[in-house]
Homo-oligomer: 228 residues x 2
Amino acid sequence: MHRGTGVGLAYDRGVPSTSAPPPATRGERKERTRRAILDAALRLCEDSSLVALSLRAVAKEVGIVPTAFYRHFTSIEDLGLELVDESFESLRAMLKEVRQAGATSLTEMIDGSVRILVEHVHAQREHFMFIARERGAGPLPVREAIRHEIELCERELAADLRRIPGMDPWSPEDVQVLSNLIVMAMVSTVESVLLAAPGSVAERRIAERARTQLRMVLVGALQWESRD
Amino acid sequence: MHRGTGVGLAYDRGVPSTSAPPPATRGERKERTRRAILDAALRLCEDSSLVALSLRAVAKEVGIVPTAFYRHFTSIEDLGLELVDESFESLRAMLKEVRQAGATSLTEMIDGSVRILVEHVHAQREHFMFIARERGAGPLPVREAIRHEIELCERELAADLRRIPGMDPWSPEDVQVLSNLIVMAMVSTVESVLLAAPGSVAERRIAERARTQLRMVLVGALQWESRD
DNA sequence: AAGTTCAGTGAACGTTCGTACACTCAAACT
DNA sequence: AGTTTGAGTGTACGAACGTTCACTGAACTT
């Protein structure tokens, strides 16, 4: 029984047109299926890992035949690299938001950053989960892509840190080291938040812990350097 | 062609007895195979992950038939939990060594700790690699076991921190938060060291970075608290 | 010496996997 | 109107998977 268009066909059944517009152009249909594949992979990665994810399982989740997968990606690894790009695109949006928050004090900046971070982990839970998973266990090219992106974040943060009053006397190397520390602390905070139930007390304690740690590092380190 | 004892038989071939003593008792033979399985799994995990590791691949690596695996472990996950125990046993030995180093100053303590850490990552490379991998991507029980062990390390470190002169006025909660920060920084340091070539400049820079970070956190945080 | 135990064997099972191939048929193009 | 294109289909294949089962034979127990 030939049904024609996989994902797309879902829109051809049931109520005629009120629930969702039937995709018109061929490009639209393709993009829709591509998205469905990416979403399905992201969903299936919640409790597995790319390296244990089968092309067939993704296809089944999407509702297409396995071979149709190849129309969009050459392999699971290829799909993974796309998900990395996508995840960090959303993460960059978050960092931009953090920067635009325009805090007047260090405490304000820290509180705002942590708040935005936790919010984004909820909003983009699947993306963060994917990155946290594949960062250490994904296919080598995926791991490298993630490491590269995090390194970029580290450098961007370092540039931001240099603009903080009181950081002027720091050497670029030390700022970079500080940035690395902060990024790693935030990575581990994200991992903790992902484990906690959204809105739970556990989560609030994790956020509070992150704020305290940032204060320890920033306020503390600022004084430490000025002591020398 | 029946060969009898898998791994054990390897010792029955070649030069009679000079290279390795043929295992005598049945318990010895079993233990030897068990070790071989654990080692093989550890080796195969260097570039995969437990969730993508097949019982058959392990058996082949060991040189036994797949079904013989069940004489030692009920599943790959079971094997994984054993590896977690084993890994943290060696890590605990390291922490003990760090504590016994008996440093007189904070700088001395930091330098000694980082040195011992890097040494142990080399000596137990496969174990650390395994933990770093499975920490985020292993089967759920394995992830939980690792998380629990790291939490224990965190608490032990917190107890040690409280003994540092100058930490007396700190609340137990803040010490715990500080400990979490340090442990997470060390976890990420280990991950970096695992990526660097042993003895390379990159590795020395990572060690130097870890020292600087510990100094920032410890010296800095000590002053921060006393300021309030 | 006879009997028991059990780590390791080997064949066989039902699944699932990635991938090759020939196909269809509506949208897009000429 | 006729042709081309290409996303999705259906079948088929060999390989690898976890697990079952009855087995063997050296190490042990009695």
